[in-house]
Symmetry: C2
Subunit: 449 residues, 2 copies
């Protein structure tokens, strides 16, 4: 057996799993991107997994890792379940909450100035620029804009990547608001198995706000980076015989070492969310997928089941494993925007929403070195812009977005498959676009009030 080849295949597959969770890394603005554009990389046109059988060079297999290379990745993000085992996040059997549909044709021609640019860009051009797979805008609960590209449809489910973290953080915030989870208690109080890891002495709040002092590098260029061990542990494929590392997310989390002090700086590290998922499972007796179904998916009038990837012990990947339809992502956002309500029923305590909107520790955020997001903060796994509209958002690698603007009464849900694994790669043509639309919609509010 060619072990080197095998190991390299496994590594490629691990990279893909790991990549599901990256939220922010630094990139060089303006650097040449040697990638085909959105139209040239359209996964439908490229014909991945089409035909009976598909041509050999169009077949994507989980173990090959190439399924997550660009542009093949543009097919994979809408089809994770065909590549790996998954667990359902059931919508239950209650009626769907339908959005009134009032498409606004003027949105496409809105313009904005990308960050660091002097040239205006049209809203619809930005969709291609960002390799958008689907985008939906709600204004005052009405659907005003919806577009799908490539292989994503209204019926499809797309990897939410690190937007998953926001769901997990929100579940934790609910339990805190309900008095079922004490944010001042230590992680070890809830999960004694983590007592000897770096997480043990952190508080639940530090975990929720990612201000733990843990050694967890997401530097893919470093073969010793902890992100590799995390991905290998969580990979649901059979482990190679020579593999001696941790064999599940839970086993991995117990190996995490301390680095720095808890509570001082915000460091975006996926392992925090997996540890939080473990806490939630221990407190509620349900894994994150089951809890997400029970507390959110069944309550927001979701139109279809979502799903999560799982490790080989059935533990859902809390740090990045959620896959959902675009409309259901938007439904979640609208419930948050509406102070935790759906059709008059309270899904999340308003206090939990208000606490998120108030934001996290700005000094801790700045101390983390996120210079591209000045003045922002991070709270319960939400990113708070602290802009004049009080906007806050969920962010996932390759452009996954849930953006809520309370002032404009607007929710934007976007799935994308940008070639660069860093939100910084698409922020310049996304954040100003969201704000430009918010200003436009707020103007409509004022005219109608």
């Amino acid at each position: 057996m060619n072990l080197i080849k095998k190991t390299s295949r496994i590594k490629a597959s691990l990279l893909a799993i790991a990549c599901l969770s990256i939220g922010v890394t630094s990139i060089t603005p303006g650097a040449a991107q040697p990638f085909p554009d959105a139209q040239a990389s359209d996964p439908k046109k490229l014909g991945w997994m089409q035909g009976s059988p598909p041509p050999a060079d169009k077949i994507l297999r989980f173990e090959d890792g190439s399924y997550f290379e660009f542009p093949a990745m543009r097919w994979s993000v809408s089809n994770f379940r065909q590549l790996m085992p998954t667990i359902s996040v059931s919508r239950g059997s209650d009626p769907i909450h339908h959005f009134p549909e009032h498409p606004d044709a003027r949105i496409d021609s809105l313009t904005f100035t990308p960050t660091g640019s002097h040239q205006k860009m049209r809203w619809d051009d930005a969709l291609l620029e960002n390799y958008t797979d689907g985008i939906l805008v709600l204004h005052r609960g009405k659907l005003v804009y919806e577009r799908y590209f490539g292989v994503l449809t209204r019926e499809g489910q797309h990897g939410a990547m690190s937007v998953t973290k926001t769901f997990v953080g929100t579940l934790a915030a609910m339990l805190v608001a309900e008095g079922k989870l004490d944010e001042a208690k230590s992680v070890a109080f809830y999960v004694p198995e983590l007592a000897d890891s770096a997480f043990g002495t952190a508080t639940i709040r530090e975990l929720m706000d990612m201000t733990t002092g843990i050694k967890f590098s997401e530097d893919y260029a470093d073969p010793g980076a902890e992100v590799w061990a995390h991905a290998a542990a969580g990979n649901p494929l059979p482990k190679p015989a020579e593999y001696t590392g941790p064999r599940s997310y839970h086993e991995f989390l117990q190996t995490v070492q301390p680095q720095g002090k808890h509570g001082e700086a915000f460091h975006y590290r996926t392992a925090n969310t997996d540890a939080l998922g473990w806490v939630l499972a221990r407190v509620t007796g349900k894994n994150v997928a089951e809890l997400l179904s029970e507390r959110i998916w069944k309550k927001i009038g979701a139109e279809r089941d979502a799903y999560m990837s799982v490790d080989s012990t059935g533990t859902p990947f809390a740090g990045g494993g959620l896959n959902t339809s675009l409309r259901d992502l938007a439904r979640f956002g609208e419930m948050i925007r509406d102070h935790g309500q759906v059709e008059g029923k309270q899904v999340i305590p308003p206090a939990a929403i208000q606490d998120i909107r108030n934001g996290g520790n700005k000094a801790a955020f700045a101390a983390g070195g996120y210079t591209s997001l000045p003045g922002w903060s991070y709270r319960s796994m939400w990113w708070i812009t602290h802009n004049e509209h009080g906007a806050f958002m969920a962010r996932g690698v390759h452009g996954q977005t849930l953006y809520i603007d309370p002032e404009a009464e607007m929710v934007i849900a976007r799935f994308a498959s940008h070639p660069v694994a860093a939100n910084a790669a698409n922020d310049a043509t996304s954040l100003p676009a969201w704000h430009a639309l918010a200003i436009y919609l707020k103007g409509l509010n004022e005219n109608s009030n």
Copy 2:
């Protein structure tokens, strides 16, 4: 690396995949069954995959094969997607077709005489006897009975096993009735890649009725049985380095050798359905999951997406890979019972349904040696009882059932996890139970007419 151990693990996993497709094998009636009963083997009580993490001896992994040993199998049949990659069979976004609910409490106390017995058995006792996971009865389109056991719920999806074949046969029958598929043409006419296999010279009708002359043994005691090669080819896990066989269902089908003549006898062989799936994909340009969604799932008012297991090229397992909710299985049955209509809309041409109800070649069926089902026939992957009510059914290993009784205007959908991998193991306490209920419900018809 311990290759023997590894090989044995892989074999165990293959057995499980292969077993999804067995429909009928002979068993010795009355032989002692060394299995715990339904209550003692309840997967909820046994705690498979429960806890954070589950105890080591309660973790079920696809590659171990033990996930499909009894009683662990009772958890797995309701959770295949957590073990392997799958493809969605989307319900689309149209409204759900709701059944009026008129539960009939008298059904539980109905009695019947099991085949070969002299003692009466109660209907509800039979449910335990058959290791039922879920059962639902429709009478004139109304839901009159519904029960769930173990880990299955209304929201859950259960492996339909060989009931999958009936969906595939029905799709073929639709295309024949619509003139899009010519049942008199050869398999090679549609799929030239199969020209050199035993399938090449068979007609589409012979494939649909499983009267092909192909060498395909499902004898698990024989290490050379073709069912092993079929399962290995279709296994979505990475192939071992030493593996040299076919690497997909399509590759396997091309290796199938002739045995006997086409058209003479009915032989229940799973490979026929996979070959038919290939024909359908070639004719329609859609794989079986996509076609099933488009032509059936989106048309019957299904309440949730179904899914199918896939091989490593994304080909759905046409011979046994469907997983569906019990209610949606019943919706399909009710559409068939109602001459192909749902809420007045024609989903399947009535001629296709009538052709199925007319049955297949009884002599060919008898020639196949199915002595436990005297006078039956097989048509378009449906089992036709030719009893006085004209009942016909879909059958899957471990007790999966869709039973349609036109005379009683009754549809029964059942999921089960019987320890014995043969319908013959549960027919004695199932078929007479279905007929006893049919007589009861027919009596209600007559009283109300």
